[in-house]
Amino acid sequence: MDLYAVLSQILVGLSRTVILFIVSSGLSLILGVLRIPNVAHGSLYMIGAYAAYTISKYFGGQDTGFWVALFGAPLFVAFLSFIVERSVFQFLYEREHLMLVLLTFGFSLIFGDLVKLVWGGEYKTVPVPRIFQGYILLFEHLHLPIYNAFLIIIGPVVALLLWLFVNKTKMGKISRAAAVDREMVGAVGINVSWVFGVTFVIGCFLAGLGGMLVAPTISVTLGMDHSLIMESFLIVIIGGLGNIWGALLGALIFGLTQSLGILLWPQFGIVFPYAAVVLVLVFKPKGLLKSTW
């Protein structure tokens, strides 16, 4: 195992981490504040990717398309989630968690089939904009595509913005308070339902953003929500429910064990992230960082 292999696996682990983090942070926000284990979160990620395809195609399929999609696709997902939240979820905040898991799973089934109805079964791709095409040569051998470098930069930016929202804005502070004691927040005259609604929509926006960002690197297909949602849940749990930095840490652990595990033992590479989760939960049953629960 040479140093280059390790180094390049780490770089890739990082760009994968970014996608995982963006999606999981949304999930974590919703879990932490609303207490909804939203299984349909993965579907929103998938819808984000498909929306990115449609928007980018509508605007010429090249650079303009990408930039419009970068904002348009997550906004579309946010809008969709707004409808779902106001029409269904807002009535269910007090339900048993297991019920919510299954209810949102029901929604993920519905979304999955709706995507099939709307977009059909063909693979879709979103082109990489011209300024992100090509690669950077690191240490003479490492070919890092510019788009991946862009992802690695955008991850911390999203983390910071999210942190600012939760800690510095009034809305964020209220939602944190509501996470701890929703009755108290309601008692001081704040409309908790709307606080929850906004938090939910922001969480879903992040799912859509994740889907949009991953789209230029892969082929957008049905079923892409499946593996991701499980990974996101595990990330949120090991990071500490509702903790944004926890989601980042969890995503790092997941992304890196995944890419380094393959170097260590190719045949059973997929075992490593799960093993990491087991280890964390055995020694830190409530996750690595402080949970809001």
Binding site: V128, T217, S219, T221, M224
Partner: protein, 401 residues
């Protein structure tokens, strides 16, 4: 407790309501395939081309005075669901013929069922060479190429190229390993001086190939054999383009030149990727192919992909087989189609008597941009006829022992 009684009542109610089919005046075909998830890009074409032939035949009065009727079931890439549906089609719908599935595990499970129930089963996309190889039997038919065939065809073409230092990389699952090992085994046989300087495997569904590509570039092989399947095909090509691999080291992927892989990438697909496949809608440029493409486009407003050939040929064998057998007896039908040939968009195709594998020509070429298309197509094409690459009957039959 009362609930058990209630339960039994509900059972009875459903069973009475959905009692099995009555006497039939049709030939019934049951298709079990994955119509959910990423595989749909391949499976819809099988069904749609099959439908074209069936509609045409029925319009002309059917076969043996009977119309052909078919029904589909979505197995969702789950073998247990697929098997239960095959049983439903067989035992409840009383289909005469089973076909389908892109999922090798389901195909093998249904094949076992077909053997026990003595019903012909046409496999229309699953690539495992066990289907007509090790696990083959009288009632199963391979209508598409399998990993062994693809490997042999690629080895045949690659052995004529000047490269000697090879790298092997691929999706780390049964299909990836089977393709790679078949290519390598036969390449080594045909051209003993080739040398494997390294191997890389990644998990199925890997979205980011950069580290693997970096590793391969550093090793400087002459040529790379890339054994990816499904969405991995597109994902690898995108990464090969983004990292500059495609312009540095030539590589081969089975089905790299196929329309399912190239059309979603538009003009952004990498040029010069070598690949093999069984069907291209623009090659060979014969009357039969043009007519088929035109008919398919008229019906579905898209170009037929490789699955369309499999669906078309399967329908043809069912129709011609019953015509030749002159009866709807299944055993006589099997006797009739063993060794039979039918016309297809790519010429006459024979279903081998020895192992029930369809003999398909394989097209070998590389991707290129051509004015007038808004996607890449295959250029420098050569046709590898079945006789040059099909595994010999004795070898296949030896596996069954």
């Amino acid at each position: 407790m009362r609930e058990k009684g209630l339960l039994a009542l509900i059972f009875v109610f459903f069973f009475v309501l959905f009692s099995p089919a009555f006497a039939q005046k049709t030939i019934k075909v049951g298709i079990v395939d994955t119509y959910t998830g990423p595989a749909t890009t391949f499976t819809f074409d099988v069904r749609d081309a099959f439908d074209l032939v069936v509609k045409d035949v029925n319009k002309k009065g059917g076969v043996l005075g009977r119309k052909i009727e078919y029904t589909t079931r979505d197995e969702k890439f789950k073998p247990d669901v697929g098997l239960a549906m095959a049983k439903e089609l067989l035992l409840k719908e009383r289909v005469d013929i089973l076909m389908g599935t892109i999922n090798s595990a389901t195909a093998l499970a249904i094949s076992d069922l077909a053997k026990k129930e003595k019903v012909p089963f046409f496999v229309t996309f699953a690539k495992s060479d066990k289907i007509t190889g090790e696990k083959g039997h009288r009632y199963v038919f391979g209508m598409n190429e399998n990993t062994e065939m693809a490997g042999r065809a690629a080895a045949y073409a690659l052995s004529k190229m000047p490269y000697t230092k090879y790298w092997i990389a691929g999706d780390d699952y049964e299909y990836g390993h089977a393709i790679a090992s078949a290519v390598w085994r036969h390449l080594k046989r045909l051209k003993p001086e080739v040398e494997k300087i390294g191997e890389t495997w990644w998990k199925v569904g890997e979205a980011d190939f950069t580290p693997y590509i970096t590793q391969i570039l550093a090793a400087k092989p002459d040529f790379i054999i890339v054994a990816t399947g499904g969405a991995g095909m597109v994902n690898f090509q995108r990464a090969a383009k983004a990292t500059g691999l495609a312009s540095k080291i030539p590589f081969y992927q089975h089905t790299a030149i196929e329309h399912s892989v190239l059309s979603p990438q538009g003009l952004n697909a990498p040029e010069g990727v070598w690949g093999t496949c069984n069907y291209l809608f623009y090659y060979p440029d014969t009357k039969e192919n043009r007519e088929f493409v035109e008919e398919f486009r008229k019906a579905y407003n898209r170009y037929p992909k490789v699955g369309a050939l499999y669906g078309y040929v399967t329908a043809k064998f069912i129709v011609e087989g019953f015509k030749k057998a002159k009866t709807i007896d299944k055993e006589k039908f099997i006797d009739a189609i063993e060794g039979m040939s039918v016309d297809s968009p790519v010429g006459k195709l024979e279903l081998r008597k020895c192992d029930h594998q369809l003999v398909l020509p394989m097209y070998f070429g590389r991707t290129k941009k051509v004015g007038g298309w808004d996607f890449l197509i295959a250029g420098d094409l050569q046709t590898i006829p079945g006789k040059d690459y099909m595994p010999p009957c004795e070898e296949v039959l030896k596996l069954r022992k």
